[in-house]
Amino acid sequence: MPNITYAQALNEALREEMRIDPRVFLMGEDIGHHGGIFRVTKDLIDEFGAERVRDTPISESSFVGLGIGAAMAGMRPVVELLFMDFALVAADQIVNQAAKLRYMSGGTVSVPIVVRAQQGGGRGNGAQHSQSFESWLAQVPGLIIVAPSTPVDAKGLLKSSIRAGNPVIFIEHKLLYNTKGDVPEGDYSIPIGKAEVKRDGRDVTIVSYSRTLLFALEAAETLSQKGIEAEVIDLRTIEPLDINTILESVKGTGRLLVVHESHSNCGLGAEIIARAYEQAPERLIMPARRLGAKHVPIPVAEPLENAVLPQPADIVEAVEAMF
């Protein structure tokens, strides 16, 4: 099986879906001959031409809106936002339009659009280029939210997202693009709405996704050396949330930690923990915990950024405090 990067896996998914389905086309800034700042759309314009790989002006609101209109008219647009932070420029089109049109029309229209964007910190991009918005977006009924952590999931989930028939926010992470993994050649898909146990363990359940999933796996190795075996669950899909896989794991471990890069305050960790206490309080032998970004904008200097965003050592510390 080829060992390729996360960015290459996404590129394969786009290329394969564009070959299979003439309705699929791409829009975004610098995605054509430039190939995208993270090379996700590299060389696609050579195979599919400028009609289907469309460079846009820096006008997120309108090109997301055009994507919505094209989707309603039978196309399968995949729209790229250069940074997730720019989703706020297109927030009306994402939140008021894409998410709601199917519902408001009584199901007579559908909006099969994928909005891809990379988010997150870790490379000093500052407060307007490092945010993570999945907790916000999960508050909006009508949006599917996907956030793969590995190349194999990235390819399989992007294919599922393009075929989903409903609006999908496809969350990438700027520091995952160069990570590598084994990825099957050709067509396969990973189902939306299914978490995966990425590491088995009996003592504590760590739930994460995207880049902090890799931190959780790293922390699990450290914890193992200290005699704590962590089960690490990769959510892969934020919405709809696979709470059953989490509760099943907690049945065995009795301890739950949720780790994410979006801010802790009113975040996804709070939601997952609330659901765990609502649905299976008896399974939690210790109070559940969450780790997210601390409640300040994301700073640039490395020691500052590391102090704000959860690090592997923070995960180890949080788990140890549960024993």
Binding site: S62, A70, G106
Partner: protein, 318 residues
């Protein structure tokens, strides 16, 4: 090809259906039977009928919360529209959309929108889809001059021009942005000049003349359909009622409104028909037919079942 005298009679009746629809809604609203807001299009029926009748059924259209007339003119069932207003399961959106979100893709109506200017890129996107699919469909976006200071309006002007989309943008300039005179808040309030600046072929016309509206959109549609790129039509009109129910209309005088009534599209179309040889009796007959349609729609909507609470949880995700 201009409307024949027979088709002009049909257009007259269609404008009356829209007028009487809005009057019926006002009555229902005053009886407390309508939930939410209602933004009437009374006085703007010619832009709706002239514009939509110049399109094909499979052409796309988006409009705004003041879009009852446009939706009906494009072909939305008056029964389904009325039922939607009353929140019935038989409404065009099963009671989920209401007054501001009439939608029916079977007639190309991709949706009325409650966010000012937000539907414009959807029409442009549908035009892009037609272009990519090598089909000869076009799209038309209705919006008011109150939309021209929204970023997405300006952004879409740019994209539509640069991509030569088969798109007609119709600005219904009714002089007031919600409850403020537009000239007070808008630099270059003649909005067609803005479109010209983006490279559009653009024109300002009398939007209360249904024949002129029809001819203008028909020519624009032919141009767009043949790959000639987007066209911008600024249709000057006047909203005879307030922005919404309960608008105290402090921004204009009663005198101004009564003067505007002399220029309103239905009266003008009636005079034109008389000039073409119709009799007063013909006009009365057409009005009676319009009334009957509204009465039928009211009876249908009143007799229709309400949606069940469990229906609130369908039509989202898969």
């Amino acid at each position: 090809m201009p409307l024949t005298p027979e088709r002009l009679q049909d257009a007259y009746r269609q404008m009356l259906v829209i007028r009487k629809f809005e009057e019926a809604i006002r009555n229902l609203y005053q009886q407390g039977k309508i939930r939410g807001s209602f933004h009437p299009c009374v006085g703007q029926e010619a832009t709706a009928v002239g514009g939509c009748w110049a399109l094909r059924k499979d052409d796309y259209m988006t409009c705004t919360y003041r879009g009852h007339g446009q939706a009906i003119a494009k072909g939305l069932s008056v029964r389904a529209a009325m039922a939607e207003m009353l929140g019935k399961a038989t409404g065009c959106s099963k009671g989920k959309g209401g007054s501001m979100h009439f939608t029916d893709p079977s007639i190309g109506l991709l949706g009325a929108n409650a966010i000012v200017a937000a539907g414009i890129p959807h029409a442009a996107g549908a035009a892009l889809a037609a272009q990519l699919q090598k089909k000869d469909q076009i799209a038309l976006a209705y919006f008011g001059e109150g939309a021209v200071n929204q970023g997405v309006y300006l952004e879409t002007l740019n994209l539509a021009a640069i991509w030569k989309l088969p798109l007609i943008m119709v600005c219904e300039n009714n002089l007031y942005s919600e409850m403020t005179p537009s000239h007070e808040t808008t630099s270059v309030v003649e909005t067609h000049k803005r479109a010209s600046a983006f490279g559009f072929e653009s024109i300002q016309i009398d939007g209360n003349d249904v024949e002129l509206m029809y001819n203008t959109v028909e020519q624009a549609a032919a141009k767009a359909r043949s790959g000639g790129g987007p066209i911008y039509i600024e249709a000057m009109t006047y909203r005879l009622w307030g922005h919404m129910m309960g608008d105290p209309e402090v921004y204009r005088t009663k005198d101004e409104v009564s003067k505007a009534k002399e220029n309103e599209p239905i009266v003008r179309c009636g005079q034109r028909l008389l000039g073409l040889g119709c009799t007063e009796a013909d006009l009365t007959r057409l009005e009676g037919q319009a009334e009957a349609m509204i009465e039928d729609a009211l009876q249908f909507a009143e007799a229709s079942p309400a949606p069940q609470p469990v229906d609130a949880f369908t039509d989202v995700f898969i």
